[in-house]
């Protein structure tokens, strides 16, 4: 092993040969900083913790460069789970278990699959937009979002596969934007607004439904689809809960603003506006769901009763998320949407 003296000698020798090696000196002296900066001055896309150079043009123009705008604790752990629990829609779903179904049931499955195919487009496009607008100093958040984009792509893929696998086809597209109260998930320009709307409300509702997938499934393939999608969706919801929890702790001055986002989300959940909740009232998909839950076209009303119970469960789980994130004061202080509160009480 080279001694410090001999090293110095041949470093000098190398420099005499024309090598620069100044970077090596910098690396030798560099001590990794601790933690993530509250403000990011990174405009060159450098890796968080790397040594900045003075001669690199700035091209980052990242919109989000403040930790408290985007951060959440434990995202690294969550990201590892994203990596570990990837699956294949081609080979991990037992497609061979799908058998011909009555036309009404097949149509309902296909309508629901069409809905999920389309709604996953939103869940993929919108997080994707935020990735490149966020400083790489907050890479943990970017990683969670890009992993979500991957999951959502697989979801749109698996539901398209379901629609086309069993003698059916894609059905009616959804109207996902009209009659929206306040801003839509699509239009959110602010990360917390986006996250509360997509992760907490939108995907939260879908998660409840996926968890109850056994009730809508008519074969092992469908059960596997819902089960696997539920696992993925739980991670997406976790991004939102972890972020809101962080905001509650470290940006309490924004609590009122966040409550406004939640107001809007609840209004949509209560009325079905926005069309993102397949179990929502007056939705095309709620008809299909009722058919699946009841067991056929002639049992839709029985299905509707189960659907009502599902809506109550969606609300119950939403309230649990509020509690977990530290925003459950709205449940007790009269701010929460009255229709949801009623559902919650009915479910208790």
């Amino acid at each position: 092993m080279a001694t410090v003296e001999s090293r110095t000698a041949y470093w000098e020798q190398a420099k005499e040969q024309g090598f620069d090696l100044s970077w090596l000196e910098k690396l030798r002296e560099h001590v990794a900083g601790e933690g993530v900066e509250e403000q990011s001055a990174n405009d060159t896309g450098r890796v968080q913790g790397s040594i900045p150079r003075g001669d690199v043009a700035r091209f980052g123009a990242y919109t989000f460069r403040t930790k408290s705008e985007v951060w959440a604790h434990n995202l690294t752990k969550l990201y590892e789970e994203f990596i570990t629990r990837q699956w294949s829609s081609a080979t991990d779903i037992p497609w061979e278990t799908i058998q011909p179904l009555p036309d009404d049931i097949e149509a309902a499955q296909c309508q629901l699959a069409t809905f999920f195919t389309q709604v996953e487009f939103i869940a993929s496009d919108v997080p994707g937009r935020f990735i490149s607008t966020m400083s790489p100093d907050y890479q943990e958040v970017r990683l969670a979002l890009l992993a979500q984009v991957m999951d959502e792509s697989r979801h749109l893929d698996v539901f398209r596969k379901r629609a086309l696998a069993n003698g059916g086809g894609l059905m009616r597209m959804i109207d996902s934007v009209s009659d929206v109260v306040g801003g839509s998930t699509d239009n959110a320009r602010e990360f917390t607004e986006f996250s509360s709307r997509l992760h907490i409300t939108g995907e939260g509702n879908v998660l409840t439904l996926f968890r109850l997938g056994e009730m809508m499934a008519y074969n092992e393939a469908e059960k596997a689809i819902y089960r696997r999608c539920a696992q993925d969706e739980a991670r997406h919801v976790a991004i939102g809960v972890l972020h809101l929890r962080y905001m509650n702790e470290f940006a309490p001055e924004r609590r009122d603003e966040i409550h406004c986002y939640l107001d809007e989300g609840e209004s949509r959940q209560a009325t079905g506006a926005g069309g993102e909740n397949p179990a929502g009232q007056s939705q095309l998909t709620s008809g299909a769901l009722a058919m699946l839950l009841g067991g056929g076209k002639d049992k839709v009303d029985e299905g509707q009763k189960i659907l009502m119970a599902i809506r109550q469960r969606q609300t119950k789980e939403y309230f649990q998320r509020l509690k977990s994130a530290g925003f459950d004061d709205r449940i007790h202080n009269g701010r929460v949407n009255p229709a949801l509160l009623e559902q919650y009480k009915a479910a208790a």
Partner: protein, 373 residues
């Protein structure tokens, strides 16, 4: 179709369910009207030996990929359209020629099948402390590669949401690519910090800037990302594997190489498709565009940091850096040759004759040319 017949029947006869609930027959018809709304019914995509792949779904009208799409409502391709739907987004990339590659659909499935887990599959404990200078150089190389991956994340992130869902095969493939870039970032950063290290200097950055600031289209970005940057990244992975001192490092570079090869397969196929299907002169335009781009590239290739780090890794120490640098010069030469080959394959007339003279230097033709005596 059977559904239509059923609907007609339910319209003619009072639905017992609706009469029980007091719903009129007309309302009952409306209630189930969606059951008629399909453009093609009776599809039964069959799984093949690789399972039920996305390509298997491209049957009948569902497999018809439009040359352009004016749909801004995210209607899944082949879903039943309804009128009066407001536009949800303005997809700037709504023409097939702007993003398509025939192989994207298969590469997406391949990406899923060949997924791997850096934090579990790499035997990190095998990466024991190496001689000091080698370790510093390795940190520098890994910092550079982590940044390359991160820039790729940014780049795809900038464009992915602008792509119309009529081309979901490409969007899902690029989602898998962005996922890969996240993994590459993570493992190279992890490798740099392994053994109690810290990160090295940020990239020289000129070419990163060029890619990030490119606005005309995804095809131009693809040329830069897959035909210019891609071959370099791939070579760095190759050399990383070849000069690795343990199996863990070897595997790490090899796995990344597999991913990168897949990314480039899409990118090259797309650029070729664009050149073949855009109006005449498009390929010439891309070739002309490269004049300035190549000067950016020269600046990065002359920056000593990455190359000296690589020379130390290859040589094993600063003492042997000159020997290592000879190999690095070979790498640079191979890189430029590879760049030319890939451009030509894609239909862009880029040759040694029209290469930027500063870049042509890296081909070292005068060193290898016969003396003529």
């Amino acid at each position: 179709m059977a559904l239509e017949e059923e609907q007609q029947q339910s319209g003619e006869e009072a639905d017992p369910q609706s009469s029980r609930t007091g719903t009129s027959p007309e309302a009952a018809i409306d209630r189930f009207s969606w059951m008629n709304d399909t453009l093609e019914w009776g599809v039964r995509a069959q799984p093949g030996k690789r399972g039920l792949t996305m390509r298997d779904l491209n049957v009948g009208s569902y497999g018809e990929v439009p040359e352009s799409s004016s749909d801004m409502s995210r209607r899944p391709r082949g879903a039943f359209p309804i009128s009066g739907i407001p536009r949800t987004d303005l997809y700037a990339l709504s023409a097939k020629v702007d993003l398509w590659a025939d192989n994207a659909v298969d590469l997406y499935e391949e990406a899923i099948q060949r997924r791997w887990m850096g934090h579990l599959e790499i035997a990190w404990e095998e990466i024991t402390p190496q001689p000091y200078e080698y370790e510093l150089a390795m940190r520098q190389l890994c910092t550079e590669l982590a940044q390359q991956a991160s820039i790729e994340t940014d780049l795809i992130g900038q464009w992915l949401h602008k792509m119309n869902y009529a081309y979901h095969e490409v969007k899902t493939f690029l989602a898998s690519e962005i996922f890969d870039t996240g993994r590459h970032y993570t493992i190279f950063r992890h490798r740099a910090l392994h053994n109690g290290g810290s990160l090295g200097l940020e990239s020289a950055g000129q070419f990163n800037r060029r890619m990030m600031e490119t606005r005309p289209g995804w095809t131009e970005v693809s040329v830069f990302l897959y035909l210019v940057r891609g071959p370099l990244t791939l070579l760095l992975y190759r050399f990383g594997e070849a000069y690795a001192r343990n199996k863990a490092d070897q595997l790490l570079f090899r796995k990344c190489m597999e991913d990168k090869t897949r990314h480039m397969a899409y990118g090259m196929a797309h650029v070729r498709y664009a050149v073949e299907n855009q109006p005449e002169g498009f390929g010439l335009g891309l070739s002309n565009l490269m004049r300035g781009v190549e000067r950016d590239l020269v600046r990065d290739l002359n920056d000593p940091v990455l190359w000296e780090a690589l020379a130390i890794i290859i040589g094993g120490s600063v003492e042997n850096i000159a020997g290592g640098m000879a190999v690095v010069e070979d790498l640079k030469q191979r890189y430029i040759e590879d760049y030319l080959r890939r451009m030509q394959w894609a239909g862009i007339n880029k040759t040694e004759a029209n290469l930027s003279p500063d870049l042509a230097v890296f081909l070292r033709r005068e060193e290898t040319a016969p003396s003529g005596d």
